[in-house]
C-alpha cells in the first residue's frame, strides 16, 4: 500500500509500491525529520515539515499539433514553526544542508516578528485509516511517449467528430506525486499518488461564426479507465463546442427556472457554501452561514459530502496537509447544515479536534478546504426529464462570473448555454447574463437529477433545476 503513517499508530503496508517509490517516500520523510530537528535547534518550540516530490511527463498540443514534450522532476519542502505561539513559515526546493538551515532560520525569524496567538499550536498525531493504493502498477510504464500517443488520440478523435472544431489546446500526461509530513508532535505520514490527466479546449468555427470557447478535462488513476475517459472528454468537448455555433441572443429576459450542468451547479451554489462552511470564516465573522448551523439552508434531499475516500476523484487521500486523518464528512444532509470544516488552527481556537481539512502544498501555510466534494443525486431523473420540467428557459453548461462569498450575490455570463422551448433544446444563446444570490437560491432548487456525474475528475454532482434566477438577454 502506498500510505504509511506514524509507527505504533498503524502498521505500514505497501501494496503496489515499487522500490523506487519506497525510496522516494523514505527520502522525503527523512528530509522532513531532519528539517524539523533543524528548526528545533534554531529555536522553534514546535515544527512541522511537509515535503512533496513530483514527476511529470506532459505532451502539450496547440492548434491541432504537438507543441511541446515536457518531462520534469522536482521536490519542495515547507517548514511551519511556532515560537512562543508565534507563526513563521519558509519553503525551498533546494535540499542542500545550507539551504535547509536557511529555511529553519527564516521560519524562526518570521515567527519572532509575528504577534502571539494562543491557537498557534500543532495538532497531535491521530490514527489514519489507510486508503487502498492510489498508485496503479500499470502507470509505471507510462512516460512521455505514452503521453504523446494519448494527446494524439485526443486530437484525432476530436478532428473526426467534426471538421469545424478548432482545438486551441490539448494536454495529456502522467504525474506521480509523493507527499510526506512530520511534526514535533509525532505526526509522521507519507503517501504516493499517480494520475493520468487529459484536457482539451477550443471552439468550433464556421466561416465568420466563432462558437463559444469550451473546455473539458479529466484525471484518472486506473490505466484501464484511461481510454473511456479520453472518449468521454473528447465527445463532451466536441458536442458542446459544435453546439455553440449559431448562437443567438436569448429571446427574452426573465426571472425564474434555469437548468444547470453539474459543473455550473458546483461553481455557483456549492463553492460559496464551502467557503462559508470554513470554521475560520465563522470565527472571523465573515461567514454568511455563521448563525445557521443545524438549520435547513437548502431543499429537502440536498446532500453535500466531502469524500476523500472516493478513489474516483483527484482529491482522494488518507491524510490532510497537517497529517490529520481525512475522513468522509457530511456538510449538508437533507438540506440541513451539519458542521464546519476545521484545520488544526481553527480547531485549536475552539479546543476541539480538526476535521482533517487542512489543504495546500509545501510552499505555503496550511489552508482550509474540502478534498473531494460529492453532491448526491436527487429524484429529478435524467437531463431530458429536467428539460421537460423546465419547459421554456435557459440551460447553463458553464458559468463565467463571480460569486461574492460574503453576501452570496453572483453575476456572470452563462457560457455554452442553450435556450429551451417545449422541454427541448432549441439552440445556443450568447451574451446571456445570470444573477442572483447563491445562499437564497439553495432553498429554491426545484429538482436535482438522479445521477451525480464526475466533474473534471475532481467532484461529483447532478444536473440541477433552480428557480428564482435573473436571466438577462444580451
Amino acid at each position: 500500500m502506498s500510505t504509511r503513517t506514524s509507527p505504533g499508530i498503524q502498521a505500514a503496508e505497501r501494496g503496489h509500491d515499487t522500490a523506487a517509490q519506497r525510496e522516494r517516500e523514505d527520502a522525503l520523510l527523512a528530509r522532513c525529520e531532519s528539517l524539523v530537528a533543524e528548526a528545533l535547534r534554531a529555536g522553534a518550540d514546535e515544527a512541522e515539515a511537509f515535503a512533496t516530490h513530483a514527476e511529470k511527463s506532459l505532451a502539450t498540443f496547440e492548434k491541432g499539433d504537438l507543441k511541446l514534450a515536457h518531462v520534469d522532476e522536482g521536490s519542495s519542502i515547507g517548514l511551519r514553526v511556532f515560537k512562543h505561539q508565534r507563526l513563521g513559515f519558509a519553503a525551498t526546493n533546494q535540499f542542500d544542508t545550507a539551504s535547509l538551515a536557511g529555511v529553519a532560520r527564516n521560519a524562526v525569524a518570521l515567527a519572532t516578528a509575528s504577534p502571539a496567538d494562543v491557537a498557534n499550536r500543532l495538532p497531535d498525531a491521530r490514527p489514519i485509516v489507510q486508503l487502498p493504493p492510489l498508485v496503479h502498477a500499470g502507470l509505471d510504464r507510462f512516460g512521455i511517449e505514452e503521453a504523446v500517443d494519448l494527446g494524439h488520440t485526443l486530437l484525432t478523435r476530436a478532428q473526426a467528430f467534426d471538421k469545424r472544431l478548432s482545438v486551441d489546446g490539448a494536454n495529456a500526461g502522467v504525474s506521480r506525486v509523493a507527499q510526506a509530513v512530520h511534526t514535533s508532535r509525532g505526526v509522521r505520514a507519507v503517501e504516493s499518488d499517480a494520475m493520468v490527466t487529459l484536457s482539451i479546449s477550443g471552439m468550433a468555427i464556421a466561416g465568420a461564426d466563432v462558437g463559444g470557447f469550451h473546455y473539458q478535462s479529466d484525471a484518472v488513476r486506473d490505466p484501464a479507465c484511461v481510454q473511456a475517459a479520453l472518449h468521454q472528454v473528447v465527445d463532451d468537448f466536441a458536442g458542446t463546442s459544435v453546439g455553440n455555433l449559431g448562437a443567438q441572443r436569448a429571446p427574452n429576459s426573465y426571472q425564474g427556472l434555469v437548468l444547470f450542468s453539474p459543473d455550473a451547479f458546483l461553481d455557483l451554489f456549492v463553492a460559496p457554501v464551502l467557503s462559508a462552511a470554513s470554521a475560520i470564516a465563522v470565527q472571523r465573522g465573515r461567514s454568511a452561514l455563521a448563525q445557521r448551523l443545524g438549520e435547513r439552508i437548502g431543499v429537502l434531499g440536498l446532500a453535500i459530502h466531502d469524500t476523500p475516500e472516493d478513489l474516483g476523484l483527484a482529491g482522494a487521500g488518507s491524510f490532510d496537509r497537517e497529517g490529520q486523518p481525512a475522513r468522509r464528512f457530511a456538510l449538508v444532509e437533507d438540506g440541513v447544515l451539519m458542521g464546519w470544516l476545521y484545520n488544526g488552527y481553527a480547531a485549536a481556537v475552539e479546543n476541539r479536534t480538526s476535521t482533517g481539512h487542512a489543504r495546500g502544498g509545501a510552499r505555503g501555510v496550511p489552508g482550509l478546504g474540502a478534498h473531494a466534494i460529492s453532491v448526491a443525486g436527487g429524484t429529478g431523473g435524467t437531463r431530458e426529464t429536467l428539460l421537460a420540467t423546465l419547459g421554456r428557459g435557459l440551460l447553463v453548461q458553464r458559468f463565467s462570473g463571480s460569486v461574492d462569498p460574503a453576501s452570496g450575490d453572483f453575476s456572470g455570463v452563462a457560457k455554452s448555454s442553450r435556450w429551451v422551448e417545449g422541454g427541448r433544446v432549441s439552440g445556443p444563446v450568447r451574451e446571456t447574463m445570470l444573477s442572483g444570490n447563491a445562499y437564497q437560491l439553495l432553498a429554491r432548487i426545484a429538482q436535482l437529477g438522479t445521477v451525480a456525474e464526475r466533474v473534471d475528475g475532481s467532484a461529483r454532482a447532478p444536473w440541477a433545476l433552480v428557480d428564482g434566477l435573473s436571466v438577462t438577454a444580451g
Binding site: 511541446l68 514534450a69 518531462v71 511517449e145 494527446g151 454568511a288 451574451e431
Partner: protein, 480 residues
C-alpha cells in the same frame, strides 16, 4: 544586440548565473537550446482580525531547458545551477523532443533572427524593497487592519495582505542571448466585511507595482486604501441593484484595463489567433472606434510602476511596445519567436514563463488604451441613461471575443447627473463590438491591475489600465 540598461543599486548581487549556463551550453553542441535560470523568492504576510495567518518566505529556483530538435520543442528542468545537472537536463529535453517528433505534423520553422539581448537589466526598486525588513511590513498590516475594523461598527471583519515577488533570471540561448535580469513586484490588499441585519457586503482595494515600496503607495497610502475598502463595504449594505440589460456605461481605468486585457488582449495573442480567435485575419481592418489606440508594452508607459514591467522576455527578446490597435485599426498580434516565424513578423517580446520548470508562453505585459481628449465632466454629461462603473474584480474572455468581468461599484447616470452608489455587477459584451461603440476617451491615465495574476495554464504578473472611457455593454443586473 540590445544595450544593457542597468538601474538601481548593484550591491548584494550574487554571481552572474549566465556564465555557468554558457559553459553547459558549450558542452552540448547541437541545435537550438535555450537555458533559463530562474530564481523566485516570495515573502508573504496576511493578517485577519488581529491574527497573523501567513508569514512566509519561500524560494523556488532552477534551470528550465528548451530545445528545438527534429522540428519540435522538448522541455526539461533541473533544480540545480550546476553544469552537470544542466547538461543532463539538455539531454532529457532532446530525448523528449525526439520521442515526440513523430506526432508533430508541421515542423517548427527556424526561429527568426532578431536582436537578442545581452547584459544586465534590472527594474527599479529591487534593492530598496529587498532591504526593507519584513517586520515593518507586518507592523503596517496589523495597524491598517485594526484601523479598518475600527472605522465603523458595521465592519465585522477585515484582513490585510502584503506580498512581494523577487525574480532573478539568467537567459542564454545558442543563438546569442545572454541576459541577467532582476525584478521585484510588491503588492498590498485590504478587504473589509460589513454586516447589517444578517446581510454581509465586502469592500476590497488592492495595489501592485513593479518597483519599490514608495512606488507601491505613491498614489494612496495603506490607510487610505483601507478606509476606502471599509467605506465601500458599509455603503454597499444600503445600495440597490442596477437593472440588467444593454446600456451606456463609463468605465474606470481599472475596468478599461480589464477590457483591454480580457476582451482584446487574449484574442490577439498569436497562439490564440492561430487557433481561430475573432482577431484572426483582421490585421489592417477596423475593429474599434477611431478614438481607440491599444498597446501592450514591457515598459511602464505614461506612469511608473506598471505591474507587468520587464525589459527582456524569457526568450531573450527585448520586450518592446506592440501597438495592437491604432486609431481603431488592428495592427499587430502579440508574438513569441515561434509565432513570429509563422506569421513572418518580428517577435514582440511576449514570451513569459512563471517559474523555471514552466515553458515560455505568449503572455501580455502592460496592456492599455492610450489617453484621449474628453474630460470626466463631459463624459458624464453626455450620458442620457446609463451607469458609471468602477472597481475591478475578476474577468474572463472567449476566443470569439465574448467577455465577462466583475465590477464592485455602480452609479446610475440619468440625464448627465451621477446618482447614488449601487451594487457592482458583472458586465459582458463582445470585444470589438464594445470597442466600436466607444464615443469618448478621457485624458487621465492610470495603471490599475497590478495586483493579482493572469491565468493561462500558468500565472503571470501583468498590469493594465487606461483613461476613463464611454461605451455600450450588457449589465447582468438583478431585475430584468
Amino acid at each position: 544586440m540590445l544595450d544593457s540598461m542597468i538601474s538601481g543599486s548593484t550591491t548584494s548581487l550574487a554571481a552572474d548565473p549566465t556564465d555557468i549556463l554558457s559553459e553547459a551550453l558549450a558542452a552540448t553542441p547541437g541545435g537550438f537550446v535555450e537555458l533559463r535560470w530562474h530564481k523566485k523568492e516570495t515573502r508573504g504576510l496576511t493578517v485577519e482580525k488581529g491574527r497573523v495567518d501567513n508569514a512566509t518566505a519561500s524560494e523556488h529556483s532552477g534551470v528550465g531547458v528548451r530545445v528545438l530538435e527534429q522540428g519540435t520543442f522538448g522541455f526539461a528542468s533541473t533544480d540545480r545551477l550546476e553544469k552537470g545537472a544542466i547538461v543532463r537536463a539538455i539531454d532529457q529535453a532532446r530525448t523528449a523532443a525526439r520521442a515526440s517528433s513523430r506526432a508533430r505534423r508541421e515542423r517548427v520553422p527556424d526561429l527568426p533572427e532578431v536582436a537578442l539581448a545581452r547584459g544586465r537589466f534590472d527594474t527599479p526598486g529591487v534593492d530598496e524593497t529587498r532591504g526593507r525588513s519584513i517586520e515593518s511590513a507586518l507592523e503596517m498590516l496589523l495597524e491598517v487592519e485594526r484601523g479598518a475594523r475600527a472605522s465603523s461598527t458595521r465592519v465585522t471583519s477585515a484582513s490585510t495582505a502584503y506580498a512581494e515577488i523577487y525574480e532573478e533570471k539568467g537567459i542564454v540561448t545558442s543563438d546569442g542571448a545572454k541576459v541577467w535580469t532582476r525584478t521585484v513586484r510588491p503588492e498590498f490588499r485590504v478587504i473589509a466585511i460589513a454586516a447589517k441585519g444578517g446581510e454581509m457586503q465586502r469592500g476590497a482595494e488592492s495595489v501592485g507595482v513593479t518597483g519599490g515600496w514608495e512606488c507601491l503607495f505613491e498614489t494612496r497610502s495603506p490607510a487610505q486604501l483601507a478606509e476606502k475598502a471599509a467605506q465601500q463595504a458599509v455603503d454597499l449594505l444600503d445600495a440597490g441593484y442596477p437593472e440588467g440589460g444593454r446600456t451606456e456605461v463609463l468605465l474606470s481605468p481599472a475596468l478599461v484595463g480589464l477590457l483591454t486585457h480580457e476582451a482584446v488582449g487574449h484574442t490577439v495573442e498569436a497562439d490564440f489567433v492561430a487557433s481561430g480567435s475573432c482577431a484572426a485575419g483582421r490585421i489592417g481592418t477596423r475593429v474599434a472606434s477611431d478614438l481607440v489606440t491599444l498597446c501592450d508594452s514591457g515598459v511602464s508607459e505614461y506612469h511608473v510602476g506598471a505591474g507587468g514591467t520587464m525589459f527582456v522576455d524569457d526568450e531573450g527578446v527585448a520586450a518592446v511596445r506592440a501597438t495592437v490597435i491604432e486609431n481603431g485599426i488592428l495592427k499587430s498580434y502579440l508574438h513569441d519567436r515561434e509565432s513570429a516565424a509563422r506569421f513572418g513578423v518580428a517577435p514582440t517580446g511576449n514570451a513569459r514563463a512563471w517559474e523555471y520548470d514552466d515553458e515560455p508562453l505568449i503572455r501580455m505585459r502592460n496592456t492599455y488604451i492610450a489617453p484621449g481628449t474628453s474630460s470626466m465632466e463631459e463624459m458624464i454629461a453626455g450620458v442620457e441613461d446609463g451607469y458609471l462603473l468602477d472597481g475591478a474584480s475578476n474577468g474572463q474572455a472567449d476566443a470569439n471575443g465574448e467577455f465577462m468581468f466583475g465590477t464592485r461599484e455602480a452609479y446610475r447616470i440619468v440625464r448627465g447627473k451621477k446618482g447614488p452608489l449601487m451594487r457592482g455587477v458583472n458586465i459582458s459584451g463582445t470585444a470589438f463590438d464594445v470597442l466600436q461603440s466607444v464615443d469618448a476617451v478621457g485624458t487621465d491615465f492610470r495603471w490599475d491591475l497590478g495586483s493579482g495574476h493572469c491565468g493561462k495554464g500558468q500565472p503571470a504578473k501583468v498590469d493594465a489600465g487606461g483613461p476613463w472611457l464611454r461605451c455600450n455593454v450588457v449589465l447582468g443586473g438583478r431585475k430584468s
